[in-house]
Symmetry: C2
Subunit: 259 residues, 2 copies
Amino acid sequence: MTAHRDQLDALGVAADHRQANGAGRTVPDATVARLALYLRALTSLADAGTATVSSESLASAAGVNSAKLRKDLSYLGSYGVRGVGYDVELLTEQIRSTLGLNQNRAVALIGLGHLGQALAGYAGFASRGFRIAALVDNDAALVGTFVRGLAVQHSDELENLVRAEDISIAVIAVPASVAQEVCDRLVAAGVTSILNFAPAVLNVPPHVDVRKVDLAAELQILSFHDNRKAVQADIEADAALAHSNGAGLSARAGQAGTA
Amino acid sequence: MTAHRDQLDALGVAADHRQANGAGRTVPDATVARLALYLRALTSLADAGTATVSSESLASAAGVNSAKLRKDLSYLGSYGVRGVGYDVELLTEQIRSTLGLNQNRAVALIGLGHLGQALAGYAGFASRGFRIAALVDNDAALVGTFVRGLAVQHSDELENLVRAEDISIAVIAVPASVAQEVCDRLVAAGVTSILNFAPAVLNVPPHVDVRKVDLAAELQILSFHDNRKAVQADIEADAALAHSNGAGLSARAGQAGTA
DNA sequence: ACGCTCTTGTGAAGGCATTCACAAAATCGA
DNA sequence: TCGATTTTGTGAATGCCTTCACAAGAGCGT
């Protein structure tokens, strides 16, 4: 439970990423994942005209607790003022800089089915320092059409585009059956970071990062918790029943062990 | 780096979910998140006609190491055979049961923009025990159209649909500006698990679970690591330079500290 | 029946991340 | 100037997850 405090993706595979920042420190992975949240909250605050924010209110806007927020920010350096809070603009800039968002990175998007189209149109990308520089699909009906002002190119052009636009980040939104092949070509062309929406495990060389978004997995995780609630409710109902009954195991309470 | 071993979403907010399974144990959240991966790998194996699999090969198919896989499976009980491996079908059934996927849960999908349409058509949902039972949008142009054989309903019907279909899981794919309102209505109608694609923090009562998929955040995390690689490369280049030079700080190496 | 080989299941150790709790710093009012 | 108040930054403690490493169990050939 614990409501919105509850996000935990934790596919939990250890990682050894660490970045030295200006102060020579290191930023934990869990912190990096949250910096993006803080950035979004800060952007809202800035839009609302707020100049200064305390760890308490920024934390609640981002849905985390304030101790964690302060610890996270401390990895970037000391950009708050005791007794006052954080300067919204300064902190925004620090986070953007830490995340490397000040370079307007070029991104390639491979696959323009519904998901690809949704991603191409996602305002959050453009507004946060990412420029979609290449749209690629192998469907002849799509090639040459324009999506958000950019022409879709045939997948034969993939390598040329990656090199011409100096693209290091790619988003894969193709069917699972061709994901590995697309991935291999991207890597060969020089891409070093991949966001994968295809339900497939990608094998890449050690210098390449892959992040995966698995839509079905997300639902399954929810399902587990939802199921747990149902079972729990049953157990409680049984306990109440047992009180007047003596028996205490309903048919449904055993469902978690069904084969 | 560490290639495909590298998935770690870890927005890392503590959670206190625990489920008692048949054996009365408890399943860690990190394990639950990976069960979905194992399930996918097992499905491929079954399709390929494999009857038995070792922890080593299942682990590599899922992109994790075998010790972790075995530990994860041990939370479900003892379904392997020493010296032999795991029976693919039995293990699949155990995982499905643990995740509560044997009940063909009804899911509501709110918002049928490109992302919503992509989700509606996502084969992974149907094939893994989820039945999309309601499509809702407030755009008059969409209401009444059919998406994958199901009619889109007007958002006024949201509460009725949730109750009629006994829906406990909903997917929010609407703009951030209306996400909280949609969320409130879903919760009031009885939904207890929400998968949120809108870039907004949702406030919900304690008995409701929210999982969030933040597309921009994913790219930003990649950006961080990509940036780190660039900085690292610069540092190494500097070191090499310093060797013959004595100076050793290129203009670009300082970028992480830019304001 | 027995020893060899293979692979699981799991205590124990180690590593990260979160949370706690408080000293240090900054502002404000008197 | 000084004390009260606020809020940051951070050591220390706690807890969760991963990894290690090996004993226990299962099959197989002889």
